[in-house]
């Protein structure tokens, strides 16, 4: 009798745990946006697990510059809400990647498993939870100081997931190959970029369209 009760309790406990887990998954998978629109939540991934630069040992050359260190330390405290705060930078895990043209990427994990990226010279620091990196194999930014198609070139730069065999940016004038350095890239174009294409080592190709900018 005692064994039967114990066995029933175990079954009940197991059933409750299963129902609880299913409910938890449902809550994570769908978030009510508050506007009647229900959107599927996108899973974030620790970006450092997907980047080549974090697969090598850290050296003294990876240390942050004082300017970048200072900028990153103020990011979390200036976020308008806790939900948008990327976490405190973990400077002891930073990586520094420098391209031939002098463009330097500082990649800094945070206490919230995000990755902050500061590009110098001239770039602003921003942080990612790795969603795009996991889904598309690439996360990028487009910067044009005088607007698209004007005198100054358009810069496309970002990070690609380990497993990428290269990176190309498509524009009206053709396809332009960017140099990958430890999972980072930066390329300047004289015309308007339309897509970022990532050929993977497994033969697959991932592509992210760059939409036309909004009307001025």
């Amino acid at each position: 009798m005692k064994r039967l009760i114990t066995s029933s309790s175990s079954v009940l406990l197991g059933f409750s745990a299963a129902v609880g887990a299913l409910l938890a998954v449902s809550v994570v998978a769908f978030a009510d946006t508050g506007s009647g629109q229900v959107t599927a939540a996108r899973a974030s991934v620790d970006p450092t697990t997907l980047l080549d630069s974090f697969q090598r040992p850290r050296t003294e050359r990876d240390a942050l510059s004082p300017e970048v260190d200072s900028e990153l330390r103020t990011l979390s405290s200036t976020a308008p809400s806790d939900a948008l705060a990327p976490g405190d930078p973990v400077a002891a895990r930073s990586r520094r990647v420098t391209h031939d043209d002098g463009t330097t990427f500082f990649l800094v994990p945070t206490t919230r498993k995000q990755l902050c990226i500061a590009v110098v010279p001239g770039g602003a620091a921003g942080c990612t939870a790795g969603i795009g990196l996991a889904e598309d194999g690439v996360e990028f930014q487009l910067v044009d100081s005088d607007g698209l198609g004007q005198g100054d070139p358009t810069v496309v730069r970002g990070i690609v997931a380990a497993g990428a065999a290269g990176l190309e940016v498509a524009s009206a004038s053709g396809t332009h190959e960017a140099a990958l350095v430890e999972g980072t890239f930066s390329i300047s174009l004289s015309d308007v970029p339309t897509a970022v294409v990532v050929p993977m080592r497994d033969g697959s190709v991932r592509q992210v369209t760059i939409p036309a900018p909004p009307q001025p």
């Binding site: 948008l84 921003g126 910067v143």
Partner: protein
């Protein structure tokens, strides 16, 4: 002897006034600096994919940025008349153009695909 004492008193009085002088100088320097760098929130909301949000007026700006859920793409730029400058398209948080507008301009932000349900906020500076 008396002259020396008088000089010493004068020096002590001047020394006592030094903090007042420093405070007066700070009061002259700090307010214009703070005013120049004043940050404003010019738009905030949730979702609203495809929406474009401008400042209510034109001014010389120091930067333009939007805080949003990372992984969703946003645009920021300055509008001078009918031309754009300081254009950035990014999914990092914040998406920011760190440079100034140079001349007076509207600051604008536009939501490309952020349906995360997390409240976003567009910020710039005003004189």
């Amino acid at each position: 002897m008396s002259s020396s004492r008088s000089e010493r008193h004068s020096a002590q009085r001047a020394f006592r006034r030094l903090p007042l002088l420093v405070i007066a100088l700070l009061l002259m320097i700090v307010p214009p600096t703070v005013a120049w760098a004043g940050q404003i929130n010019y738009a905030s909301g949730t979702n609203g994919v495809g929406g474009t949000f401008p400042t209510s007026g034109e001014a010389v700006r120091s930067y333009n940025q939007v805080w949003h859920q990372s992984g969703y793409y946003w645009w920021v730029w300055y509008l001078h008349g009918s031309s754009q400058t300081g254009l950035v398209y990014d999914n990092a948080n914040p998406t920011k153009y760190p440079g100034g507008s140079g001349t007076i301009a509207y600051a604008k932000c536009s939501n490309q695909n952020d349906n995360s349900g997390v409240t976003w906020t567009c910020q710039t500076t005003t004189p």
